[in-house]
């Protein structure tokens, strides 16, 4: 199974915390769509022998497109790739783009899953993050979407400096009241180069408090788990049968093709990423050349990535898979490195699977790094 990711690099306005690639000018939209279609044609060989089971419109804000535009792109995939019987076709959407009319159009289009960027049901939070929608829109859109779509995911952000724990609890309650089967929930992260970073540095906005974020994360995990969600990835919770196929491909090391500026592709052995510049991307594609960089992953890179992504998921890191794909010395190395954390119960072994405990979850990057294998230092 393979995935196709299509990056729509346009937004109506910039959120203060976002470091994804986008442009707030829609002038080049048509040129961009033509380039995306052309890239799909140029790269179809890359998925030869593979069945596509997920198409994902990410961004940016894909909901700035209308259904004719999304259908054009979907049709291109259907025409030139082998697509499975019941593909998951996701559209990332913002509440302010989803009028009831537009929702109706998407409902009858090939899109069958919505990922709605709600972030919060409170105006103070939304203003803090410079989101384009307000709380009222979020609620209304969600209510309408629920009538048209079965498979809906919403995004929620916790650890917002101005939001107290009580408000976060209410956010979760409200989300649950809409009966959505999937929630992606992220700790607010201060990325370099973002407006949020600048505000914090200047003291305009209080710093993000890790302790508070951790408490909110714990509340999130326990509440959603008792509501029947599976915590299948650090920031993702789904009811059985509703896990994101597209994202699961990333964490399970499956093949995916990333179309559009800044999109990443992976085929099990090499990763490539398109240039993060709309103009240069369009120009390259128009000239029939893919403006991308490639890296070939070594066994060690693949091992490190598997450990890193595996620890984030409920599937953990399978020692058997390590042994099969990388050899027994990788398995022994992994266990040796894990020893200390197993003792301290940040990690635990469940049969042949290594997993992060609840107390280790919020520290899992550092834990993964400790299990990494580095290139042998050259001895002269």
């Amino acid at each position: 199974m393979a995935g196709v990711y299509i990056h729509i690099p346009f937004c109506k306005q910039a959120c203060h915390y976002c470091d994804f690639h986008f442009s707030t000018s829609l002038k080049k939209k048509e040129e961009m769509l033509l380039a995306l279609e052309k890239e799909l044609l140029m790269r179809k060989e890359e998925l030869t022998g593979q069945v596509v089971d997920t198409i994902y419109f990410g961004g940016g804000t894909p909901s700035v497109l209308d259904t004719q535009e999304t259908d054009r792109l979907i049709q291109t995939v259907l025409d030139h790739y082998v697509v499975g019987e019941d593909p998951e076709i996701t559209l990332e959407a913002n509440p302010d783009d989803l009028s009831s009319e537009k929702l109706g159009h998407f409902a009858v289009s090939k899109v069958n899953r919505l990922s709605i960027g709600v972030q919060s049901f409170f105006d103070e939070d939304l203003r803090f993050m410079n989101r384009a929608h307000n709380a009222e829109q979020a609620r209304a859109t969600l209510a309408m979407a629920r009538e048209q779509f079965d498979n809906i995911s919403i995004d929620l952000i916790y650890g917002i400096p101005i939001a107290e724990d009580e408000r976060w609890k209410q956010n979760i309650e409200i989300a649950l009241s809409y009966q959505v089967p999937h929630i992606s929930s992220y700790a607010l992260t201060v990325e370099p180069g973002t407006a949020l970073k600048k505000f914090i540095d200047k003291g305009i906005v209080p710093e993000v408090d890790d302790e508070k974020a951790e408490a909110q994360f714990r509340h999130l995990v326990t509440t959603l788990e008792s509501a029947g969600f599976l915590h299948y990835e650090l920031s993702n919770f789904g009811k059985p049968g509703y896990f994101s196929r597209n994202n699961t491909a990333y964490w399970q090391g499956k093949t995916y093709l990333g179309i559009g500026p800044s999109a990443h592709s992976f085929n099990g052995q090499q990763r490539s990423w398109n240039i993060s510049n709309n103009t240069l991307y369009i120009k390259g594609i128009q000239q029939g050349r893919l403006p991308a960089e490639t890296e070939i992953l070594t066994q060690r890179d693949l091992y490190n990535e598997y450990v890193m992504t595996g620890l984030r998921t409920m599937w953990g890191v399978s020692l058997q898979r390590i042994e099969q794909e990388f050899g027994s010395h990788f398995r022994e190395y992994l266990l040796r490195q894990a020893e200390r954390h197993l003792e301290d119960q940040y990690l635990y072994l469940d049969g042949d699977t290594l997993r992060v405990s609840l107390k280790g979850k919020f520290l899992s990057d550092g834990l993964a790094a400790d299990l990494f294998m580095l290139p042998l230092e050259k001895k002269t």
Binding site: Y5, F20, Y186, A187, L188, T189, D210, E211, A213, E214, E233, L234, S235, N247, Y250, W251, Y256, G258, S262, A263, H264, S265, F266, R271, W273, E295, D301, N304, E305, M308, T309, R312, R340, D344, Y346, K361, F362, L363, S364, D365, G366, A368, A369, D370, F372, L374, E377, K378, K379, T380
Partner: protein
């Protein structure tokens, strides 16, 4: 012999010594275009990068002056106070010295102490005013400074620019006309001064010498007086840009000797080489066994690398005889070595060479000087304390003595107040103050050597805005009120972080150490208390708060590669840390006390 001139160059760091040497080689045609590179004599990478000379070097030039051919032996000396003994031996091998003074910066402390050494050895001094081409040059005033210092005629000072070549002809002329030819008798028994040695992995130790009397020939049976060992001279020759073997080197000349010695410790700088069968009755005066001034523990980051560290240290010692080490063990760090160094620069160099040449990542512990402790039971028998943990229990102590030095500081008059406050804070006692000129003051202090080890240079530069220069010489041991400050991490004492500190400063330094360690030790999964203690008494405390969040929220297609690389880097950083108990301590934390005021 009357056509030989032996000379050295005395200069402060950055005043242009190595560049001037390059220019002299150029002018006398001693280098071909092909061999030309900057700072030709500084052939260690470290020397080039740091712009300092660590080893002594020698090179022979030929120069025809007024129809006669002269042999000029330039002996390039190390440029740092850590190596002042080597400098003194190089000076003893010469009849003259070029005193190079930067026309913008004027005379510095180290220049003066080396100048005094040269004058004690009756060297003819040729003052050279370098960098006269710089816009900031102040030739008139600096010439006056030189005249004041040397009592020479202003006409004797040669304006020059080693960079552009101004004055090089005049300098060569002065070398020939003003520096006396060596005196010596070829017919007397061999008497040659060892002024340096270099380790060559293929040929063994190469000894650099100056023949005072007699001659040394290939095949001769020779004797090193201080070590008492005999060897055969397998090869002797002249130091051109490369070595040029010759049958004999006669009195007055400089050369190299190869005997197949494999261990640098057998060749001691300052030793006398003589004929084994017809030895001289007069060994050359001034020989000293060089003693280390600063001690520190060196430990492998990975305990498994101990044996490899040992073999690396042994190899390093083959070409650096001034490095001494004995195995020691630390409760915190396991097995390592207590090493003695000539000074702080020497310590840094050893650490860097271990990393570069042997790929050994090491932890260097807080450096200390060598103390002497006397117990009540046995108040006349000194116990040498090269490691704070060797200090006997305070209740049994009669007294502790620490090494003192005489510090010479030259500074601009404006900064005398600042320099004095610093030296007094560092337990210095002023012994003398002299105005060299109206603008420049020489200050002398008696100070504990230990205080110089602890962030003295950097602060001296800061309080004097870079103007003060500094030199020191040991003046013996004095009684001191010292206590051991221990550091506890997570309630466990970390012996490698202990330091001997004067009782009056202990509380303040203990507090600063805790603060510094808090800054340097990364947050871990749990709270880490840091405590400073004297005996059982806690004098200061800080806490490193536990890491609460160490995970990125998003990890999608576009994040994986970047994130993997980030975590790989993180792991690399951790590999350079040492785990003590369950706390990971970065390398630099062990040296934290040196940088308490940063």
């Amino acid at each position: 012999m009357k056509h030989i001139r032996n000379f050295c160059i005395i200069a402060h760091i950055d005043h242009g010594k190595s560049t001037l040497a390059d220019r002299l080689l150029d002018f006398t045609g001693s280098v071909t275009e092909r061999d030309k590179k900057e700072q030709l004599l500084d052939n260690m990478d470290l020397e080039r990068e740091r712009g300092i000379t660590i080893k002594s070097h020698a090179i022979q030039m030929e120069y025809t002056y007024e129809g006669e051919k002269y042999i000029l032996n330039l002996i390039d000396t190390p440029g740092h106070v850590d190596f002042s003994y080597e400098v003194s031996r190089s000076i003893a091998a010469c009849e003259g010295a070029l005193l190079v003074v930067d026309a913008a910066q004027s005379i510095q402390a180290q220049t003066i102490s080396n100048l005094y050494l040269a004058l004690e050895n009756d060297l003819e001094i040729i003052p050279v005013l370098n960098k006269v081409d710089l816009p900031s040059a102040n030739p008139e005033e600096v010439t006056d400074d030189i005249v004041d210092l040397l009592g020479c005629d202003p006409e004797d000072v040669i304006p020059a620019s080693a960079k552009t070549g101004i004055g090089i002809g005049e300098i060569l002329k002065a070398i020939i006309e003003r520096i006396p030819a060596p005196k010596g008798n070829v017919d007397e028994p061999l008497q040659a001064l060892v002024f340096d040695s270099v380790y060559n992995p293929f040929r063994g130790v190469e000894t650099y010498f100056r023949v005072i009397n007699g001659q040394i020939s290939k095949g001769q049976k020779i004797k090193f007086v201080a070590t008492g060992k005999n060897y055969y001279a397998d090869e002797v020759g002249t130091l051109k840009l490369t070595q040029l073997p010759r049958p004999t080197i006669k009195a007055g000349d400089v050369g190299y000797l190869i005997t197949g010695i494999k261990d640098a410790r057998e060749v001691k700088v300052g030793d006398t080489i003589t004929d084994a069968d017809n030895p001289t009755k007069n060994p050359i005066e001034g020989f000293e066994d060089v003693k280390p001034m600063v001690f520190a523990g060196i430990y492998p980051v990975d305990t498994e690398d101990f044996e490899e560290l040992r073999s690396s240290m042994e190899k390093l010692q083959l070409n650096d005889a001034s490095l001494v080490f004995t195995p020691e063990s630390s409760a915190a760090l396991g097995f390592g070595f207590r090493c003695g160094f000539l000074g702080m620069l020497h310590m840094e160099i050893i650490q860097e060479r271990l990393e570069r040449e042997f790929d050994m990542t090491v932890i260097t512990t807080v450096p200390n000087v060598s103390y002497q402790a006397f117990t009540k039971k046995n108040p006349d028998a000194p116990i040498t304390v090269n490691n704070p943990s060797d200090l006997p229990d305070p209740s049994t102590l009669d007294r502790v003595e620490e090494p003192y030095i005489k510090a010479t500081i030259i500074t601009k008059a404006d900064y005398v107040g600042n320099v004095m406050s610093l030296c007094i804070e560092k337990r210095g006692q002023i012994t003398n103050q002299t105005y060299l000129t109206t603008e420049r003051v020489e200050l002398n202090f008696d100070m504990p050597l230990a205080e110089i080890v602890f962030d003295f240079y950097d602060r001296l530069k800061t309080v004097s805005r870079g103007y003060a220069s500094f030199d020191y010489a040991p003046i013996g041991m004095r009684v001191s009120k010292l206590v051991r400050v221990d550091i506890l991490l997570n309630a466990q004492p970390v012996d490698a972080l202990s330091a001997l500190i004067h009782a009056d400063n202990a509380a303040n330094i203990g507090k600063k150490m805790c603060e510094k360690l808090k800054e340097l030790i990364p947050r871990q999964q749990f709270d880490i208390p840091i405590q400073a203690a004297i005996g059982a008494k806690i004098i200061s405390r800080e806490t490193i708060k536990a890491l609460r969040k160490d995970v990125t929220a998003k990890c999608y297609g576009g994040d994986i590669s970047r994130k993997r690389k980030l975590l790989e880097k993180q792991k690399k950083g951790k590999k350079r840390m040492r785990q003590v108990g369950n706390v990971e301590i970065p390398q630099q934390a062990f040296m934290a006390v040196l940088k308490l005021n940063d």
